[in-house]
Amino acid sequence: MSGVLPVALGSATKLIGLIMLSTKEYVAVAQLHEPVEEARLREVIKEFIGRIYQRPPLRSSVKRALRVKTVYEIELLEYEFPYALLRIKCEHGTYVRKLIHDIGLILGVGAHMRELRRIRTGPFKEDSTLVTMHELSEAVYLYRNENDDSALRKTILPAEYIVSHMRKVVVVDGAVSAISHGADLAIPGISMIHENIRRGERVAIFSLKGEIVAVGRALMSTEEVLERRKGIAVKTRRVIMKRGTYPRSWRRKQSK
C-alpha cells in the first residue's frame, strides 16, 4: 500500500491522533475473476455506498467483530477486464480489501484487491505538499551538509496543518499563557471564532500569530458564544504550545 501518510515530528506527535479517525480516500485496483458487464459492475458498486457491515479480515489489527462502516463514495474510474480502477471515500477503519472481496461476491464472479493507494486522510491529500522519502532525504542532505535549509523548510509543514480541517477559535495574547498551562478558554479571551461550531465539537485554539495553542471540546456553540458575555467556551484537552512562550497575565485567586 502506498500514498498519503502524514508524519508528525517532535511535540506535534500529540496532534496526529486527531487524523486517525478522519475520513479516508483511496484508489484501488480490483481484479475480477470472471468477466461482467460494465453496467452490472456499476450497479453492484452502488449497493456498497452507504452504511455497510464488515467483518475485519483474518489478518487485521482489530477484534474480528462485525462492524458498521460508512462508504461515502465509490467511483469506477476505469474498467478493462480483469481490472477495475476504483476511487473510494470511506470512514476510517473500513477495509478496502474486504470491500472489493464483497463486491466480487455480489457480482457472483469473485474479485480481489491488486493494489491500493491512499489519496487522502483528514486534510492531507495528494497535492503539492506531498513529498517522497527521496525528496525528504535530499532536503536533509542539503541542510546537514550544505548548510542550506530552504528545501527542508519547504518539505516540513508547520504542525498547524494537522488541525487545518477543524473549526478554529483565535484567542488574544492575554489568554494564551493560561491555556498553555491547561486552563479552559473563557469567552473574554476570544478574538475570532468560526461560525457553525456545535456544542461538543472538537476545535483548535490558535494565537493571533497562527500558532496552535491547544485542541479542545466546544462547551458552547458559536451562537451561544455570541449571545453570552462570559463563561467557558472551550474545554482544553490537549495543549501543544510550550508553557512560558507567552507571558503570564492572569492573577492567582487572592487568599483571604
Binding site: V7, R97, V140
Partner: protein, 92 residues
C-alpha cells in the same frame, strides 16, 4: 515587524489553513485585537530545527515498508526522538 503586521500575517496563515483543510465557515470577530511580536513566532518563520519539533511531513509512503518502518527511517534521518504517523497504511 509591527503588531499590525504580525497580526495580519498570523490571520492570513490561519485563513490559508482553512483553505487547505477545506473549512468554508467564516470567522466572526468578537474582539479586535493585535498580537505582540516580542513573544511567540509566526509558524511560517519557524527554523528547520523548530519545524523538527513542531512540524508535519505529508509523506508519500512507498509500497514496500510498513508505516512503522517508514516512521523509524524518518526519525533516523531527521535525527529526532519523537515522530508519529496518522493511521497505518499497510500492505494490502
Amino acid at each position: 515587524m509591527s503588531k499590525e503586521d504580525v497580526t495580519r500575517e498570523g490571520v492570513k496563515f490561519i485563513r490559508k489553513l482553512d483553505e487547505y483543510g477545506e473549512v468554508n465557515d467564516r470567522f466572526i470577530t468578537l474582539k479586535e485585537a493585535r498580537t505582540d511580536p516580542t513573544y511567540g513566532k509566526l509558524p511560517t518563520q519557524r527554523s528547520a530545527e523548530e519545524l523538527l519539533d513542531l512540524g508535519v511531513v505529508n509523506l508519500d509512503k512507498p509500497p514496500g515498508p510498513t508505516s512503522h518502518e517508514v516512521v523509524a527511517w524518518l526519525k533516523n534521518i531527521l535525527g529526532i526522538e519523537k515522530a508519529g504517523h496518522g493511521g497505518t497504511l499497510e500492505r494490502p
